[in-house]
C-alpha cells in the first residue's frame, strides 16, 4: 500500500509557520484540512513554535461514575433531520462523524484515518480507519459511508445536509410538474453517478462538480453521523453505532441514559454512564438544577445568569469565542432593499460597537457587517466600520427616500437577546430617518417567513470557515440565501476563495469579499456571541465547543 501523496501546498504552509507568516491555529486547521494527520500537524507545530499541545499535558483521567448534563432531550429517531445543535448531544455519543471539529475550531479525521484533496479541490479521497467496528462486531467499511452520504442527499430523507452540499454534489432537476399552488416541483440528484464512489473497502472518493475547501467541515455537520445501514436510518435505544456509548433509555423531553461500551476504538470512555436531563427549556430551571447539584453541567447558560453562578465554589466557568451570530438581513426582492445605497445607509446608521455592548456586553465581540469572524482562519482585517448618520441620510436621499423609510423588522421571540439587539438598531436608525417597527413573532412563525420577509433577524450558527456561511447564505440561488442576494462579482470572488487552500492568499481574497459585503451586501451585523456554560469542578476534560458539542468519551469525574 502506498502512502498518499502530500498536498502540493503543505511544504509551503510548513515554511510559512516556521517563518511566522501564519498563526499556529491557521497552520493546524489548514494542514489537517489538506490531509496531514492531526498528530503530525500538532507535532510539527509544537516543534516549530515551542508550545506544547494541551492534549499532551493532560493527566490520566479517573474512571467510573455518572455524568448528568442538562439539555433539551429531543426525539432522535432520525438524526438525518436533526434541526438543532442539541439533537446530536445524545446520538453523537453512539453514532459518529467521519470528521471532528474540536473546541479549538480545527477539523480532524475521526472515523477517517485521513483525507486527501486533489490540488484543484474537486476530488476528495477519504481513507477510513482500519480499527473501527460497529457494536455488532462488523467492520466499518466504505459501503457504510456511501450508503449514509447518498441517503443524506436524497430529497425523501429531508436532511439539511442536502442544502449544505447541494452546490458541489447535486443537480436540481425540474420534474416538469407543478404543485397545487402552481409552483414548479424540483428534485435533486447526484450531479454524476460516480459523485460518491467506493474505491475499495476502506476508501471512498468524492468527485465534486465544483471546488470545495470545506468538505471535512461539512462532514461534521450535525445530522451527518454514520448510521448502521441495516437499521435503515432509524436510531433509538439499543441502536448500533461505532461510538463509546450505547443508548439505554430515551424519554423525549425528560431524559436519556447512555452506558459505556467496552472496547471503543478511540479515547475513553472514562464514564460508566451519562444522563441527559431535560428541565423543560426554562433557563432559570437549568440554573436551579446546577445550584442544587441535580446536574453536573449544562448545554449552555445564558449570559444573564452569569452573575448568579460566577461565585459558586462548586462550579467551573467555561466560555468559547464563536462565529455564532444573528444578522439583520434585507431581502432584495422587496423595496427599498433592492437599492444598494439603502442597504449601505442601514449599515452606516449603526454603531456596531455600541449595539454589541447593548446586546451582550462582555459576552460578545463587535461584528463588521460581512459575516466573517475574526476567529475564522480566512478573516481579513478591514478598517472598523464607523457610524455616519449624515452619509446614511444622503444615501437614502440619493436612492429617492429623502424623507426616510418605514420598515418592519421581524424577529423571533427567542432567544431574548434578539429583542435587545433589534431595539438598539431601531433606536440608532431613527436618527437617519429609518423608522423601523419591531415585530416579534413565535419562533415557528419566523421560520415560515425567514426566506421571504423584507427585513428579518436570523440566527446563524458557528461554522469553522468564513467561506462556509458566505456560500450558504449569500451565493446566488444558494439553498439558504434568505436575502435573495445575487451578485456575480461576489459569486466569482467566493468561487476563487473556495479554491484557495493558502490562508494568506484566501484572506486577501476575503478582504475583497468583505469590502463588497460592507458596500453592497444584504446584512447589518453587529455581534459575534461567546457561548458560556458552567460545569461541576469534579468534571474533567470538558471544553466549551463553538457548536455546543460535548465529546463524552473524553470526560471523566473526579471522586
Amino acid at each position: 500500500m502506498t502512502r498518499p501523496r502530500d498536498h502540493d501546498y503543505l511544504p509551503i504552509l510548513k515554511r510559512d509557520l516556521a517563518d511566522g507568516k501564519v498563526s499556529r491555529r491557521s497552520f493546524l486547521r489548514t494542514a489537517t484540512l489538506l490531509g496531514l494527520s492531526a498528530a503530525s500537524a500538532y507535532a510539527f507545530a509544537d516543534k516549530v513554535t515551542g508550545v506544547p499541545s494541551e492534549a499532551q499535558a493532560q493527566d490520566a483521567k479517573p474512571k467510573g461514575g455518572t455524568l448528568r448534563i442538562s439539555t433539551t432531550v429531543y426525539d432522535v429517531k432520525s438524526p438525518a433531520i436533526a434541526s438543532t445543535t442539541a439533537h446530536p448531544l445524545i446520538y453523537s455519543q453512539v453514532v459518529e462523524y467521519l470528521t471532528k471539529t474540536g473546541a479549538d475550531n480545527v477539523t480532524r479525521p475521526h472515523l477517517l484515518k485521513s483525507w486527501e484533496p486533489s490540488t484543484d479541490l474537486k476530488t476528495w479521497t477519504l481513507h477510513l480507519r482500519d480499527d473501527v467496528k460497529w457494536h455488532s462486531g462488523r467492520p466499518f467499511v466504505a459501503d457504510d459511508v456511501v450508503w449514509n452520504l447518498t441517503r443524506l442527499l436524497s430529497d425523501e430523507v429531508g436532511s439539511s445536509v442536502l442544502g449544505l452540499m447541494e452546490g458541489y454534489l447535486l443537480n436540481s432537476v425540474d420534474t416538469g410538474k407543478v404543485d397545487d399552488k402552481g409552483k414548479k416541483i424540483i428534485r435533486h440528484e447526484l450531479w454524476d453517478p460516480k459523485a460518491i464512489e467506493k474505491v475499495d473497502d476502506k476508501t471512498v472518493r468524492l468527485n465534486l462538480k465544483a471546488p470545495q475547501l470545506a468538505v471535512p467541515e461539512h462532514l461534521f455537520h450535525y445530522p451527518a453521523v454514520m448510521l448502521y445501514p441495516e437499521e435503515k436510518g432509524v436510531f433509538g435505544p439499543g441502536a448500533i453505532g461505532t461510538g463509546a456509548f450505547t443508548l439505554k433509555e430515551l424519554n423525549v423531553s425528560r431524559n436519556a441514559v447512555l452506558e459505556a461500551k467496552p472496547g471503543y476504538w478511540g479515547e475513553g470512555p472514562y464514564l460508566d454512564r451519562i444522563e441527559f436531563i431535560d428541565v423543560g427549556g426554562n433557563e432559570q430551571a437549568i440554573v436551579n438544577a446546577l445550584i442544587s447539584g441535580q446536574v453536573d453541567g449544562a448545554f449552555q447558560i445564558l449570559p444573564d445568569f452569569y452573575p448568579l453562578l460566577k461565585d459558586n465554589a462548586a462550579l467551573q466557568y467555561y466560555q468559547v469565542t464563536t462565529a455564532d451570530t444573528s444578522v439583520v438581513r434585507m431581502n432584495l426582492k422587496h423595496k427599498p432593499f433592492d437599492d444598494a445605497k439603502v442597504r449601505q445607509a442601514f449599515r452606516l446608521a449603526i454603531d456596531p460597537v455600541k449595539a454589541n455592548q447593548i446586546t451582550f456586553g462582555q459576552f460578545s465581540t463587535p461584528a463588521e457587517h460581512h459575516h466573517v469572524s475574526p476567529i475564522h482562519p480566512d478573516y481579513a482585517k478591514l478598517p472598523e466600520p464607523q457610524r455616519d448618520v449624515e452619509k446614511a441620510k444622503a444615501l437614502l436621499a440619493e436612492a429617492g427616500y429623502k424623507d426616510g423609510v418605514d420598515v418592519e423588522l421581524v424577529i423571533q421571540q427567542n432567544p431574548p437577546h434578539h429583542l435587545r439587539n433589534a431595539t438598539a438598531l431601531t433606536e440608532m436608525w431613527k436618527e437617519a430617518g429609518i423608522r423601523a417597527a419591531i415585530k416579534v413573532v413565535p419562533n415557528p412563525q419566523y421560520w415560515d417567513v425567514w426566506m421571504t420577509a423584507p427585513l428579518g433577524m436570523t440566527v446563524w450558527a458557528h461554522r469553522p470557515l468564513g467561506v462556509m456561511n458566505l456560500a450558504l447564505a449569500y451565493r446566488s440561488n444558494a439553498a439558504w440565501n434568505e436575502s435573495a442576494f445575487a451578485n456575480p462579482e461576489f459569486d466569482k470572488l467566493l468561487d476563487e476563495a473556495e479554491a484557495i487552500p493558502d490562508p494568506k492568499a484566501r484572506s486577501a481574497r476575503m478582504a475583497d469579499i468583505e469590502a463588497l459585503m460592507q458596500r453592497e451586501g444584504p446584512i447589518v451585523q453587529t455581534y459575534w456571541r461567546n457561548l458560556i456554560s458552567f460545569y461541576d469542578k469534579k468534571v474533567v476534560g470538558f471544553a466549551m465547543h463553538p457548536t455546543y458539542m460535548v465529546f463524552c468519551n473524553e470526560l471523566a469525574i473526579k471522586s
Partner: protein
C-alpha cells in the same frame, strides 16, 4: 339520574365536536406547516413539498378535519406512521385504533403515550396538593367564619388575602431562595428522575408547596365567607335559642349548608390543577400536562395542543358533573333538570 347522565354525555359529544373543529380551524392560522415543523427550518422547499404531498396536507380543511376525526375514531390509518414516509414514527398500537390522536410533531411520539405519561405526574401533583388544600382551607376557613371579627378571623383572613394576591412565580422564587439557595435542603427543580442526589419525595415539596399556598388561601376565603354567611341564617339563630351546643350547630347545621360554594371552588381548583398549572410546572421543570401544553403551544405542535385542549374540556365537563352530583347530595331540594 340515568337520563341526566345520558343527556350530559350527549352534550359532551356535541361540545367535543364543536371544540375540535374550532381547534382544527384555528390551527390553520398557526405558523408553520406540519411538514416544515417535522423537517425543521433548514430543509429546502423541495423536501418540504415532497412530505406535504405524501401526507395530503394540501387537501381542503374540511377533508383534513374529517380525516383527523376518522383517525381519532380508529376508522382511518394515520399516514404519519407509514414506514414508507421514512420518518421513523411508530406506534405499538398500530396506525388505526380508537383514540389515536396522532403523533406529537415536537416529540415524535404517539400523543396518547406523551399525554398518558404526563397526566400521571400531574395527577400525582394534584392529589398531593388537594390532600393538603382541602383540610387546611376547610379548617382555617371554618375557624375564621365561626369567629367573625375576632383576632383569629382577622389574622387568617389577612394572611389569606396577602397569599392570594401573590402570583405563583413570586411564591415559587421565594421558596426557591429559602429552600434551595439559603438552606440547601431541597432540589431546585423537579424533573422526577431518580438516581441523583435528591429522592422523588423531596422533588415534590416545592411544587406542592407553591400550589397549596396559591390555592388554599383562596379556598379558605370562600369557606370563611360561606360559613360566616350561614352563621347569620335564622335556623342557626333558632338552634342557638333552642340551647343546642355551638359545636353541634356548626357540625350538623352550618357546615353542610355552607359547603356548596366551596365545593364549586374546590372542583374548579381540581380543574385548574389537572390542566392549567403551567407556571409552577415550568418553573420547577415538573413533567406534567401544564409544562407540556406550554412547550406544545410555543412549538406549534398542533396534534398535541388539540389533544391537551380536548383533555381540558373533558376534565371541565367531568368536574362540573361531579359538582352537580355533590350539590344533590348536600341539598335534596336541588333537582337535576
Amino acid at each position: 339520574m340515568i337520563r341526566f347522565l345520558l343527556r350530559r354525555i350527549g352534550q359532551f359529544i356535541i361540545t367535543f365536536l364543536a371544540a375540535s373543529f374550532l381547534l382544527f380551524a384555528v390551527t390553520e392560522f398557526s405558523p408553520g406547516t406540519v411538514a416544515s415543523k417535522i423537517l425543521g427550518p433548514y430543509a429546502v422547499s423541495s423536501q418540504v413539498d415532497l412530505l406535504t404531498e405524501k401526507l395530503h396536507l394540501g387537501d381542503p380543511l374540511l377533508l383534513r378535519y374529517l380525516r383527523w376525526l376518522g383517525i381519532v375514531a380508529g376508522v382511518v390509518e394515520n399516514p404519519l406512521g407509514d414506514p414508507a414516509i421514512g420518518l421513523g414514527l411508530s406506534d405499538p398500537r398500530g396506525n388505526r385504533y380508537v383514540g389515536n390522536f396522532g403523533y406529537s410533531l415536537m416529540l415524535k411520539e404517539p400523543v396518547v403515550d406523551v399525554v398518558g405519561e404526563r397526566i400521571g405526574y400531574t395527577a400525582l401533583l394534584t392529589l398531593l396538593a388537594i390532600l393538603v388544600i382541602i383540610p387546611v382551607s376547610l379548617a382555617a376557613g371554618v375557624a375564621a367564619g365561626v369567629n367573625p371579627g375576632r383576632p383569629i378571623d382577622r389574622v387568617l383572613s389577612m394572611g389569606a388575602v396577602i397569599l392570594t394576591s401573590l402570583p405563583e412565580f413570586v411564591v415559587a422564587v421565594a421558596l426557591l431562595l429559602v429552600g434551595v439557595v439559603w438552606l440547601g435542603l431541597l432540589p431546585g427543580t423537579s424533573p422526577m428522575t431518580q438516581g441523583g442526589r435528591w429522592p422523588l419525595s423531596l422533588q415534590l415539596v416545592l411544587p406542592v408547596g407553591v400550589l397549596v399556598i396559591a390555592s388554599a388561601s383562596y379556598v379558605l376565603r370562600i369557606v370563611r365567607a360561606s360559613v360566616a354567611d350561614t352563621m347569620r341564617k335564622p335556623y342557626v339563630r333558632t338552634a342557638l335559642l333552642k340551647g343546642l351546643k355551638r359545636r353541634d350547630i356548626i357540625l350538623h347545621h352550618v357546615l353542610r349548608n355552607a359547603m356548596i360554594p366551596p365545593i364549586t371552588v374546590i372542583l374548579l381548583q381540581i380543574n385548574w390543577l389537572l390542566t392549567g398549572v403551567v407556571v409552577v410546572e415550568s418553573i420547577f421543570a415538573y413533567p406534567g400536562v401544564g409544562s407540556l401544553l406550554l412547550q406544545a403551544a410555543l412549538f406549534g405542535d398542533i396534534y398535541l395542543v388539540q389533544a391537551l385542549t380536548l383533555l381540558a374540556l373533558l376534565v371541565a365537563v367531568g368536574t362540573q358533573l361531579i359538582g352537580d352530583l355533590c350539590y344533590l347530595a348536600l341539598d335534596p331540594k336541588i333537582k337535576l333538570g
